[in-house]
């Protein structure tokens, strides 16, 4: 599994979007998180999904990440994120340690738990592990917390694939002005299909959909430096089935 830092990806997305090249490269226009995140939002044709888990308590999820299919399971339109304790900059192969942030923290102290808390009613105990889908890095408008269940890696793998597949089917093409369109998630349709599969989710908790999304945005900024993106492996996109150019 190859990973890259979310902050680095956002910086490079902002740098790639400008016409100018700098003498010292992208660091000359390292803007604020907000600016770079906005640039990433407009360059990324899709949404984000954060895999929330505790590396010790949810060992089966850690094992799933280490197996290396997270990026492929999410697909090209969903950037799959998780927290990493190591410095991760440019894309590189992940080591098991890269997915073990907060080993010594209790469940309640873990930053992933902090995010989960806002999705559950105030009298309910938040549940990890989960997959949090949200539409934008800077100023998200919608989000959903999907609860992952299962005590072994195969159950988690199966569930993540089901959830990602259903998200990919609940596509909503949005116009971005001009001829541009953007791949977005139809959160309502997605929620309905999760219900259909009897997969539990939380959408707003005690604070409402819009507020939950805003809290995701604040949390992402706060934990941005530790967030990494799982890069999908290259599937043979362009394999010529015949040699006659049909792809």
């Amino acid at each position: 599994l190859k990973i890259t830092s979310l902050v680095r990806l956002a910086e490079e997305a902002a740098y790639a979007a400008q016409d100018r090249r700098n003498l010292s490269g992208s660091i000359e226009n390292v803007g604020k998180f907000e600016e770079n995140f906005a640039a990433l939002d407009s360059s990324h044709d899709g949404i984000y999904a954060f895999l929330a888990f505790h590396p010790v308590a949810d060992q089966q999820v850690l094992d799933y990440v280490i197996e290396g299919t997270l990026g492929d399971d999410a697909g090209p339109h969903i950037l799959a994120l998780f927290l990493s304790p190591a410095y991760v900059g440019q894309p590189r192969e992940a080591k098991p340690i890269d997915a073990q942030l907060g080993v010594k923290l209790t469940g309640e102290q873990h930053p992933a738990y902090e995010l989960a808390r806002d999705f559950f009613p105030s009298n309910a105990k938040p549940r990890l592990p989960g997959l949090i889908f949200f539409d934008f890095l800077s100023q998200p408008k919608d989000s959903i917390y999907v609860i992952l269940q299962g005590n072994d890696v195969s159950a988690i793998r199966w569930q993540c694939r089901e959830v990602f597949e259903s998200a990919n089917k609940a596509q909503l093409t949005q116009c971005t002005g001009g001829d541009g369109t953007r791949w977005n998630l139809d959160f309502d349709r997605f929620a309905a299909s999760l219900s259909g599969m009897s997969i539990q989710y939380q959408r707003a908790g005690h604070i409402g959909i819009r507020a939950a999304a805003l809290i995701v945005g604040v949390w992402v900024k706060k934990n941005a430096k530790a967030l990494v993106t799982a890069i999908p492996k290259i599937i043979q996109l362009g394999v010529k089935i015949k040699s006659a150019g049909s792809i």
Binding site: I27, R92, S243
Partner: protein
Amino acid sequence: VLEEHLRQFQLTGLIAAFCGDSEKIVCGMTPFYHVILKLLDSAPTLAESPVTFNSPAVYSADNWCSDQLAGYAGMELSITPKALLASHANLWSAAEKIRETAILHFVKCILWYYENHARDLRRTIKFVLDLYGHGFFTSQRVFADVMDRFSRLYASSADLSFLVGTKREDLPQINAQLTRVSAQLPELSTDQFEPILKYLIDFVQDLASEARIATNADAWLMGLAKLAGPATFLGINFRAVDVKRLDVLTRAALSAIEEMGADLFAVGCRFRTFASENLPLGWDFTGPYEDLATKYRATFPEDEWLDRLTDDRLVMPQEIKELIVINGWERLPEIETPPRFRLNTPLLAIPLCIACERNPPQVRSIDFTTHALTVAMKYLDRDTATKPTVSAARSHLINYELTELIESVTNVAEAEMKFFADRIAEFLGRYPWHALPMFLTATQVTSQPHRETASTALRLALLSAPYYIDAWRALAKLAEDNGNQDDAVALRSTADSLRALVEGRP
């Protein structure tokens, strides 16, 4: 010895593409090429046996003994060392004189490889990068042209299945068909190009990770050299393709690789300038990057800037970064680069010297002080009417130091071995690729427990000075002492034929 020499040959192509002058490589390589040929002529059994080490190769008109057009020697191809040599030499020569023919030849072999390996694009791109890493391309431009042409043919609607199952004897038909399909090559659309770009990016990222963990200057230089061609090609295409059609991960990766390519180009230029100005050879990882480091320090927090600098820019290996972490940036002027990072070993003497037109014995290390040179200048100034040149002073100084070294180490008793070794090490500290001290080391330690040391010293001497007849003879003697009669005969015969070659005898 043969394997080492063949490897030197390949590395020369790679280093030439990184920091050398591809126009001069064919000429510069000829003497060394003859050494390997003489070695092969002297060892017929070796010359007839297939190459066993893993190296990619593409067919050439000379000595090619396989019915396959391309593949990996030692795995997919059964070819002799001479066939591998000719494959390199012919393509280098063609790339300079008949560039278009060389490009077509590469493209033909790559397409053949693709069609005959289940149309596995990833595997094919790995093959092209391996060809680059093994020095088949002496210039980044030829590599870029080949990649471009291959990409167009790959993406075109042309039916290439006529290549499947073909052998070398089918070349006339292959050539005719390829000429036909190449006649109307379409402009490449970004969508068609995307899979190739993605695989290349993936490999370049892995090569960069590999370079970062280099544990010595040789591994670092080779790591950078392997990256230079593909990174430059991707850099060009960052501008050429419609990046908006690429997903954000690919777009960001391309942008970062374009920056990396610019750094690699600067390192290559630095090597070239240092060679043309006859400046000492060596790596200084901190000095040249002080300005850059200051910028990073100003932009990022204290616990982040160095990670960012070394990760964003391929300017120093992981180990050097850790040295800075341990010592602190403030103590930078006191930090000494470890010896294994300061200088490339004689294993890269031939590639670096041929690619950059240097003379191995004249190469100074960064430990060379100008004081001695000033003294030599004054000495010459006193004796000659005209003002002495720096180069004359340098030759004078080396000769003087050599005479002194030989005198001081001749007939040293066993008890004085330490003194002897120190003098040699001191000399090699200043002139790291001078073959004579390596030879002296070998001749002083021929007794049984030191034979391995002697053999290594002689092999290194021969890499710095391939025409060192006495070193070939000494190596033959060593083989004889070890009971390897066949090797001894072959090495002695190589020495004899090289002598004949030097003396102009047939």
